[in-house]
Each structure stands twice: as C-alpha cells, then as structure tokens.
C-alpha cells in the first residue's frame, strides 16, 4: 500500500480548472470549481448522488459544456474551438458506468475503430496495439467476440483497453464498477491499479474506498456542485474536516 502511494507525481500540470461554473437551465450544477491535477496524480472523487461528480469529469473532455471559468488540459484551453476539443479528446480517455461498448463491432473492432479513424493508424498496426492492451486487461482470447457475449467485468476491461488504444495521457473513470456484480469489481479494480502503477494520470469517480486508500494520492469530496474537501486518503478517511464529509463517510463506511 505504502509504496504505491509513493508513486512519483511530477510538477507538470495535466489539468487546470479555474473558477469553473456550469448551469443546466436555471440549475447551478457546478459552482466555482478550482482544481489542479499534476501529471501522474491519481484522484478519487466521491460525494452524494447528484452532487455533480459526473458532470465535473464530463466537462474535462467536453462531453458537457461549461459556461464560466476555464479548463486547460495539457496546456490546451477548452473552448468551443473544435480543434482544441479534438486535441483534448485524443489525449483524454474515458470509461463509463455502463461500458458503452459498440455492440455491432467485435471486441477487436471496438478497440481499433478510433485509432484507425482518428489517429489514422493502419489497421494492422492498430490491431497489434489492440491485442497488446487486450492482453494487458487479460482478455486477448475474446478479441473476436461481440460485446453482448462478454460478462460485465470483461466488458468494462475491454472499455479500458479501448481507451488505452488511443494512448491517452489522462484517464477519466465515471463509476466504472458500480454496474458490476461484486465478483467482477475486483478484476476491473485490479486493471485500474495496474494502470495507476504505470503512472497514468487518473480522475476516478468511485465509492470504492479500498481502491481510494490504495491508489489515490488525493481524495476529493463534492457536495451540491462544490468541492467541499480534499486531502490525502489517510487524512481524508481518518480525520475528515467538514461535517458534510463526516456524514457522508459515516453513511458509506458505517455499515
């Protein structure tokens, strides 16, 4: 545990979010978000349902538009400029709660679609890369099956491999294990831990507190669209400062 938490974090800034605000109509979802993520950092975001965790990480790769403030990814300012959005999306991978694999394509085709059409990688090379990452997530033998033929845990690992095929420098996870049966959660978390150990910059919305303790070097607690508290895992879990964090932790760790 201890040594993984020591994994090096560079001074280089990967993501800089500055005074960012977002509204859905009149509803103020995100308020004055300030967040700086360094390269190699692994951040876990938690908070009650509806607190804006998904919205926050979806703003980072422009799946949602923010209305005020700025988001900068690897020095590229996120604006309505399509070139910048393309650039950011090609550097940021994302995994979703419901995997969102393409059901009409085989596992291998899922993994090669974007490299071929976005990165313009020749198919043969893209397939080699895909097999490399499928081996990494331990399902190379499923390459020619369709997503519907795989278990949930396998699908989520394919989704991770699919993102990795684009060689992202940052990975976003939105509750990657919350749609899975308990036996499958571990296989996905193991994959994510391995990724963290290789130094991938990660932002992960999850309520897997064991994962947070083992991997994260910062845990962020959000409530009502605000970052209420952030700290290193040990301090965060053992000594939460705000009453809202204490309440939340007592609820999810209590039983």
């Amino acid at each position: 545990m201890a040594e993984t938490a020591q994994m090096k974090v560079s001074d280089e800034v990967a993501i800089r979010i500055d005074n960012m605000n977002k509204w859905y109509g009149a509803f103020h979802v995100l308020r004055d978000i300030d967040l700086t993520v360094h390269r190699g950092e692994r951040i876990v975001i938690c908070g009650p349902s509806g607190s804006g965790k998904s919205t926050l990480i979806r703003c980072i790769n422009a799946l949602e538009e923010h209305q005020k403030g700025s988001i900068e990814v690897d020095g590229t300012l996120l604006s309505s400029d399509l070139k910048n959005i393309d650039k950011i999306r090609s550097e940021v991978g994302m995994c979703f709660q419901h995997f969102n694999l393409f059901p009409h394509l085989t596992i291998l085709e899922n993994c090669t679609l974007a490299p071929i059409w976005v990165r313009k990688t020749p198919k043969k090379e893209a397939e080699e890369t895909a097999m490399h990452f499928l081996e990494k997530v331990k399902i190379p033998d499923q390459a020619n099956k369709y997503p519907g033929q795989l278990s949930g845990g396998q699908q989520q690992r394919v989704a991770i491999a699919r993102s990795l095929c684009m060689r992202p420098r940052i990975m976003l996870f939105d509750e990657p294990t919350s749609a899975l049966d308990p036996e499958m959660i571990k296989e996905v978390l193991d994959t994510m831990i391995e990724l963290a150990e290789e130094g991938m910059t990660m932002l992960c919305v999850t309520h897997e507190m064991g994962f947070a303790r083992q991997v994260a070097n910062r845990v962020i607690f959000m409530d009502e669209g605000q970052i209420v508290e952030q700290n290193e895992p040990e301090a965060f879990f053992n000594n939460p400062q705000s009453p809202r964090t204490q309440l939340f932790l007592s609820q999810i760790l209590g039983h």
Binding site: N61, L63, D86, R89, S90, V92, G93, M94, F96, H98, N100, L101, F102, P103, H104, L113, A114, I116, W117, V118, R119, K120, T121, P122, K123, K124, E125, Y146, G148, Q149, A159, R162, S163, M166
Partner: protein, 404 residues
C-alpha cells in the same frame, strides 16, 4: 421449471409424446399438419364439385382474347384491340410504377420527418409531430380522395393556358399543372445517348468503388483520401464530357399546348399523382416513427463513448449510430413497403389503371372469369410481396446484430 439435462434416450415411452417437451412439440406439429391437409382437401374438393354442378370450368383462355377497353396511362404499347394479357401487363407495370415511386418518396418524407422530430427546435419538433399524427390517423383512402379532388377541382384546365392573355402560365415555361395532370419536359434520346447513359451508370459504380477504395486505403496505410469532392467529380465529370463528345445527343422535349391539351414531354396523370402522393405522405408518417424509434434506440452513451474517443460527429453518426439504428428501422420498413404495394390497389378509386383495375376490374367484369382473375391477382401480390420481403431480409440479415 425445466431443468433436466439430457435424460437418457433409451427409456422412451408413448406417454412422453405429451409429457416430454422434446417430443411434445413434434406431436403437436404432426397433428396440426394433418388438420391443415384435411381442411385444404375438403375445401378443394368442395370447390371442384360446386363448379361442376354450376357447369363452370377453370380456363385461362380469355387472357388471349382482345380486351376491348382503353387505358389512359400506359407505359407499354396498348390499344383496345390488345389482349387481356396485355391489359394485365399494363396493370402490373402501373402497380409497380406507383409502388416504386411511393416507396422512394415515402422513405424520403419519413427519414426527414423522423430526424426532424428529434430536433432541438420546438417548432420544428411540433410541426413534425403534427404531420405524423394527422397523416397516419386518417385512412389512406380518404387522403387519395382529398388529393385527387384538390387536383381536379383546384387546378386550371389545359384550356386556361390558351390565348394571348391566358389565365394560367407554365412554370419556368416548361411545367404545366392542370386538372388532368402535370406535364413536364421529357428526354429525347438521340443516337449515342446510350453511351452517355452507360457512362453515367459506370460513374455511379465508380463512386462506390472509390469510397470502398478510400476506406481500404485508410485501413491499410492510414491515409485518408477526401471523400466529398472526388465523389461529386467522379459522378458528374465523365458523363458531362461524354455528353459533349457524343454531340449532345440527349435533348428535352417540352410540353406545349396543341388544341385542347398539352402535347409532348411527359404527362403524369392526376390519378397517378393523387395515388403516389397520398401513399407517400401516409406511409411516410409511419416510416417517420420507425426512423425516430431507430435513432432513439441507440443510447446516448454510444455517441458519447464515440465522441470521447475523439470521433467527429459525422463519423459518430456513420460508424456508430446509423449501423445500430438501421437494424431497428429496416424490419418495419419492409412492412411499410409491403403496405404501399398492397394499398396501391386503391388505385381503382381514382381510375388509375393498376392490376386490380385492369385484370381484377374491367377484364373480370367483361369476361366473368372471376375465379381465374382473382387467383391471378392474389398470385401477383403474393409474388411481389414475397419478393420485397426477400430482398429486404437479405439486407437485414447481412447487417443484423451478432450476439450470443
């Protein structure tokens, strides 16, 4: 709960014909088949006995006799002296013509309305919802009558285009909308026009070949060729060049007023237009709903995942959303095409000479050969419908989701 796994086969007892699911289905199928054969045999012998008693015989000789009636819209040579068979052919071709036209336009209407129903614009969305609800909830028969009545009552007669100060004028000098139909310029095929047309067909094939090649090149080498402009160029340039090389063999014949009516160009009679248009907007409303359902069936997560991988919106549509949506859209589209073909038999209402109006109408009445005519009619619609189903099912099977 049926949880037994492969009980030993040796211990077969007759009671298992009913109690064991493996044999029960066979038992029931054998019984059903026996009942069906008995029923058909009974009805067939009954029919034969009754026909004999009435002194009738089944014969198709009447098909060779002169039909003795005129048909106003024909695509093949026909006079009142032509045979009943020829009249039937006229009808078949007219049925195919209006069905084909209506399938094409209904698909266009349906796709546009279905996509616009998902628009972010409130007004557009409501307008399209209004179109769908109004047109699919009123019988197509009434739409045919309404459109036909509007055309014949509200459009000017050809004579209104006459004189120094005519009440009506032709649109752009070449289109005339009259109560007898619409007159449009028609092509005149000079020598060498076949070569021009062949060039065009080759170009269309060339466009597909080019796009295939471009995709293959991308997959093989990672080089993406531009798609839009080369496609347009391949489609048009060779044909235009060939057109001039051959000395402009294809001309246009404009309709012109001669006497009491227009001559020249192509005449599309009011009955055909009414039938075509009514079938298109009516069935288009159904297709719109299929298209909407198909697009909505692809979850938002799919396009989000594709976008998160860096795919541009056009590619997200082509590579991820459409292939999945089409699987939901195609099967009901088949039944809509079948409906158009069968509903085209309402042609008789406005005097459009389709197969039901010729063979199943005038020929039947004049020859009294009701059984023969109706059997032939049924056969025709069956063959056409099965043909459409087959083609579309082949397509559907080629693209359907392979799962489990």
């Amino acid at each position: 709960m049926t949880t037994f796994s492969d009980p030993p086969k040796a211990s077969f007892r007759p009671s298992m014909l009913l109690s064991d699911t493996r044999y029960r289905s066979i038992t029931f199928q054998v019984i059903a088949l026996a009942l069906l054969v008995t029923a058909i045999w009974y009805l067939g012998s009954n029919l034969a006995a009754n026909l004999r008693a009435a002194g009738l015989n089944i014969s198709f000789q009447f098909l060779g006799n002169p039909a003795g009636y005129d048909i106003n819209q024909t695509l093949i040579p026909y006079t009142s002296q032509s045979s009943n068979l020829q009249a039937a052919w006229v009808g078949i071709i007219n049925t195919l013509l209006v069905s084909f036209l209506a399938c094409v336009t209904a698909t266009i209407f349906g796709v546009i309305a279905g996509v616009l129903r998902l628009s972010n614009n409130w007004l557009v969305r409501k307008l399209m919802a209004g179109y769908v609800e109004i047109f699919r909830n009123i019988p197509v028969l009434i739409w045919i009558l309404i459109i036909y009545t509007i055309m014949t009552a509200a459009m000017p007669a050809p004579s209104a285009f006459r004189g120094d100060d005519p009440a009506s004028t032709m649109m752009l000098g070449s289109f005339a909308f009259t109560n007898r139909g619409v007159y449009i310029p028609g092509p005149v095929w000079g020598p060498g026009s076949m070569i021009v047309m062949a060039t065009f067909v080759a170009s269309v094939i060339g466009v597909f070949a080019y796009r295939r090649y471009a995709t293959k090149l991308l997959y093989d080498t990672g080089r993406l060729l531009p798609m839009l402009w080369p496609s347009v160029a391949i489609l048009l340039l060779p044909t235009i060049i060939m057109f001039f090389i051959m000395g402009m063999p294809i001309g246009l014949d404009y309709p012109a007023l001669k006497g009491f009516n227009f001559r020249g160009g192509i005449q599309i009679g009011a009955p055909l237009i009414a039938l075509w248009f009514a079938l298109s907007i009516y069935t288009g409303a159904f297709i719109a709903e299929n298209v909407r359902a198909g697009i909505q069936a692809v979850s938002r997560g799919q396009s989000e995942a594709a976008a998160a991988l860096g795919l541009r919106p056009g590619r997200v549509m082509n590579l991820v959303v459409l292939p999945q949506a089409l699987r939901v859209i195609i099967p009901p589209l088949i039944s809509n095409y079948l409906n158009i073909t069968k509903n085209s038999s309402l042609a008789i209402l406005v005097g459009y000479a389709d197969i039901t109006a010729t063979l199943g109408g005038i020929t039947l009445n004049q020859t009294g050969r009701a059984i023969e005519c109706v059997v032939l009619l049924m056969l025709f619609y069956l063959v056409i419908s099965l043909g459409i189903s087959m083609v579309m099912n082949v397509y559907n099977n080629a693209t359907k989701l392979k799962e489990r």
